[in-house]
């Protein structure tokens, strides 16, 4: 037996507290127009929602020398050899992944291991594009967790925008450590 474990648990048990019931989370109303609400939320987070055409133009613009795409239908844009070691993504210009669903109230997008073979991908890449199905939007975070349910994934992520900091005199700077931009392609 681990003595500190027992010490801590026994100290709590010795208090003989009466268990207070956990509340039921109320059902809250959500926005009617999920797509436009999502767009507004995303813009507030400095994300940018674009359409498929604009995305294809971007991919073909030549401004991203090193692309890795796992999104269905766009795999062919990958122009690097997929590394064994995730450290080798350090000079990746653009990662393209599929998001599972988006949350209108805050622009967050859920990704898990199904979308992220490499957990580091959305962080280490210089720019990030997430493909998101318009029909896969929920209103708020309660609906979001209801949707996630009991799925088992070693890693899951709600991401809501490019990497940000305001640690120098509260001036907002985009691109602290992670992606310097986030574009969401609504399809």
């Amino acid at each position: 037996m681990n003595p500190s474990r027992e010490y801590i648990l026994n100290k709590i048990r010795a208090l003989r507290q009466e268990v207070v019931e956990a509340p039921i989370i109320p059902e809250f109303e959500v926005a009617e127009d999920l797509v436009s609400t999502f767009k507004i939320s995303s813009a507030a987070n400095k994300g940018e929602v674009i359409d498929r055409e604009a995305f294809v133009a971007l991919l073909e613009s030549g401004q991203y020398p090193r692309i890795y795409s796992t999104a269905k239908g766009f795999e062919s844009y990958t122009n690097i050899t997929v590394p064994q070691d995730p450290h080798e993504f350090s000079d990746l210009s653009l990662a393209v992944v599929e998001g599972q669903f988006g949350v209108a109230e805050n622009g967050a997008i859920w990704l898990d291991e199904e979308n992220l073979e490499f957990r580091i991908l959305p962080f280490i890449t210089e720019h990030l594009v997430i493909l998101l199905d318009k029909k896969k939007l929920v209103g708020n975070m309660h609906q979001a967790y209801a949707k996630i349910g009991n799925t088992k994934s070693g890693f899951g992520l709600f991401t809501a925008g490019p990497s940000k900091t305001a640690d120098i005199e509260q001036s907002l700077v985009i691109g602290a450590h992670g992606a310097k931009s986030l574009k969401i392609v609504m399809i």
Partner: protein, 453 residues
């Protein structure tokens, strides 16, 4: 030095003090705007508070459930009764992995344990990777705010530090330029680290997963590149179910910075192939606090920092004046439970205006607990040493009509509305010098009556 003495030092640089005050108020304002955009805000706070009541009343069961599920997920679980044991556990993991340098994301808990100093003494190089934390680390300072670690510094100072440490251009104060320099510097560290350390925002008993929230993405840059992830977690960070995350994630960022959600909310359930995750569960006085009926609610804190941003004293005295790891209103009710003598002036560093309790997303009755601690301290000190500084301070503030004759809401309004010349004049002891025992010639109440704005 106690709180009022250190606050006086902070206020010597009047311009900086004014900037600090106004900037934090600006953050508080953003929080107001975004929280008001959610009609159910008050209901959410109440729900969060009740979930935490449930957690605290059943903490032992939840910890056991969390441990069982985390183990089943392949996570290694450690228990530490105090800071010393916590630090030893971490060092041990590092030694087993032959690791001499780590990257670390923001963790107030490791500040509480003075982990950095301990590891450095034992030959481990620690790099704080949150930009604000890296800045203060370069200065050998602790964070002065739990969410905005370098809020006490101006960009010119950061520019000087970076010129010195990172060879940036002298005199270039541009925040984008400086941030980019830090990005390049820290990338190297991320790419080289074998072990990454993070704090924990929420641990879910039902699934054994834990959630880490950052805006910069620094926690994830560290852990996904390293072989070993060590997550340090206070035992009160447990929540019962995954669905409860929905409640807390809606509240956290809105309260902290006025964002609708943090940029990166990472859910760690099991290690990636070939990697390791360790969780260190820390008590360090928390079970003690849980046993104090009047004060146990302080353990509900989700470390959003809103009570600091709103506090008229914090804004005008700076984080360092508190001399405790967690400054501001919440620190002033947590710290006396850890060391009553050392922190005896903190519960008096308040106007008891109640603004902290009003903004707290988990509805901790902070100002009432501040008042309760005053009673405890006054009792303890009458019996030990009636002449201690803190006691003098207590006498001082009780004789100042400023804080006591005005109703809470009126006072809050006044603090916000007062022009700079008044806020920083002799009338407001918190605005300028902190010489409390000197009662203003004209009471604030009288003044207010005469000079209605």
């Amino acid at each position: 030095m106690n709180h009022p003495e250190k606050a006086a030092v902070f206020l010597e640089d009047k311009e900086n003090a004014k900037w600090h005050d106004e900037t934090l108020w600006f953050v508080r304002d953003k929080r107001d705007v975004v929280s008001k955009s959610i009609p159910e805000w008050e209901e959410l706070r109440e729900t969060a508070s009740q979930i935490k009541d449930n957690v605290l009343s059943n903490l032992d069961e939840y910890l056991v459930e969390f441990e069982r599920n985390a183990l089943a997920n392949g996570i290694k679980v450690h228990w530490a009764k105090d800071a010393e044991e916590h630090n030893k556990i971490v060092l041990n993991i590092l030694q087993q992995n032959d690791c001499k340098a780590i990257v670390k994301s923001k963790s107030i808990l490791t500040e509480e344990c003075h982990l950095n100093q301990y590891l450095e003494k034992n030959g481990v190089d620690v790099v704080d990777t949150d930009l604000g934390e890296r800045i203060v680390q370069f200065l050998n300072q602790p964070p002065s705010h739990i969410v905005l670690p370098a809020i006490h510094l101006k960009k010119a100072q950061v520019s000087d530090i970076f010129h010195d440490k990172l060879n940036t251009e002298k005199g270039n104060h541009d925040p984008s330029y400086l941030t980019n320099a830090a990005r390049l510097h820290l990338r190297e560290k991320f790419l080289a680290a074998k072990v990454a350390l993070t704090g924990v925002n929420f641990g879910v008993a039902e699934t054994g997963e834990f959630v880490v929230c950052t805006n910069e993405g620094n926690a994830d840059m560290g852990v996904h590149l390293a072989d070993v992830h060590v997550a340090c977690m206070g035992i009160e960070k447990i929540i019962p179910k995954r669905e409860h995350l929905g409640v807390f994630l809606r509240l956290l960022a809105r309260s902290a910075t006025g964002q609708s959600v943090t940029n990166y909310n990472s859910h760690f359930r099991s290690p990636a192939k070939g990697k390791e995750i360790h969780i260190v569960l820390l008590d360090n006085g928390r079970t003690e606090q849980l046993g104090r009926e009047k004060f146990k609610n302080s353990l509900k804190c989700i470390r959003c920092g809103a009570c600091m941003n709103t506090c008229p004293i914090y804004r005008r005295s700076g984080g360092y004046s508190y001399g405790s790891v967690v400054p501001g209103p919440i620190g002033s009710i947590l710290s006396p439970g850890i060391d009553l003598k050392k922190h005896s002036s903190l519960p008096f560093a308040s106007t008891l205006c109640g603004s902290c309790s009003d903004v707290c997303p988990v509805k901790i009755n902070i100002h009432e607990q501040l008042y309760e601690w005053r009673q405890e301290i006054t009792k303890a000190q009458t019996s030990i040493n009636a002449k201690s500084l803190a006691m003098k301070f207590a006498n001082g503030i009780f004789s100042v009509p400023f804080a006591y004759k005005l109703g809470g809401s009126m006072m809050r309004g006044a603090l916000k509305l007062l022009p700079h010349s008044i806020t920083y004049s002799n009338l407001n002891t918190w605005g300028k010098e902190r010489d409390l025992p000197e009662v203003p010639k004209e009471s604030f109440k009288d003044w207010y009556k005469k000079n209605k704005l």
